[in-house]
Symmetry: D2
Subunit: 100 residues, 4 copies
Amino acid sequence: MSCVATFAIFPLKQSGEDSLAPYVARALQIVKDSGVPYQLGPMGTALEGDYVEIMDVIRQCHDELRKDCDRVYLTVAIDSKAGEGGRIQQKVSHVGELLK
Amino acid sequence: MSCVATFAIFPLKQSGEDSLAPYVARALQIVKDSGVPYQLGPMGTALEGDYVEIMDVIRQCHDELRKDCDRVYLTVAIDSKAGEGGRIQQKVSHVGELLK
Amino acid sequence: MSCVATFAIFPLKQSGEDSLAPYVARALQIVKDSGVPYQLGPMGTALEGDYVEIMDVIRQCHDELRKDCDRVYLTVAIDSKAGEGGRIQQKVSHVGELLK
Amino acid sequence: MSCVATFAIFPLKQSGEDSLAPYVARALQIVKDSGVPYQLGPMGTALEGDYVEIMDVIRQCHDELRKDCDRVYLTVAIDSKAGEGGRIQQKVSHVGELLK
């Protein structure tokens, strides 16, 4: 099984902070430390792994932000497919090859 | 903690099935059996509970569809907030009261 | 063509406001005034219509919140299908009939 | 105003096609031809521009796929902010600088 997921997480009530970047950085540190393949994008972070593995990383990000944020918003999209991994790169390269 | 989530799940390669409703019904049966408060909508199902509880229900829905679907797409949005539950109804009624 | 959409919109920097409900109510007023079939849910509002019609309603909601919100977050999911309308109710009732 | 959006679009009933990549490539060609800054990711394509501009590109992608797909699913998330553009790169680099 290969699950490719993308998630975005941010506080809905930040206290004074003008930018969301510090919150995203805290979540990304957890992703990085987890060892799963990932790719940071402008609107979310893509991960690849099995379902339980990537959902566990996302739960840790949620718990980290909830430490000091009363309200957190999280979106996740998952493409879960039978077969081998390595799709985080393949999905992009397959499309690229088909472009004129 | 109260997490209100909405999720949508469906196969990306269905075999012959013309409608997605049978797949959604299988997921909804799991939600119903879980005992968490829920609300079925036209584009997704809303759940309320603590983070681990609702994510576990969603994982069961994923595993159920992956039994016979090679590829499944899942989206989840979560509003996770300190404080008491009962928000699945309150969120709708608060907005209703503010409408002219 | 029938498009059933669900959307959620809220400010990322609210000034003092403790609840998001006043913002959601402003968007919902626009939806209501538009005359398109809609259904308010705990995590978003569902709409039905043709693509251009519902996207125009959502744009008006965006423009309304941006009047006094420096930063607004919007998510939309659309299920766009050939054939007749009335799906905002049908999608829910079809699933309900399949449940034990 | 700078809107950074990410969108994913795919058919819900593909006829025989085993991969979604050809559909994504058709949408991406439209994005590329539009001239808006974009970034292809494993789970969606990020765009930057003003609200009307990027929503028009996404509508063209929808119309292209609906030419031969009876049912299309589309998700969009938009971060709409007062101020200057160039955020499609900045959002990623700001987070990167904050990582250990």
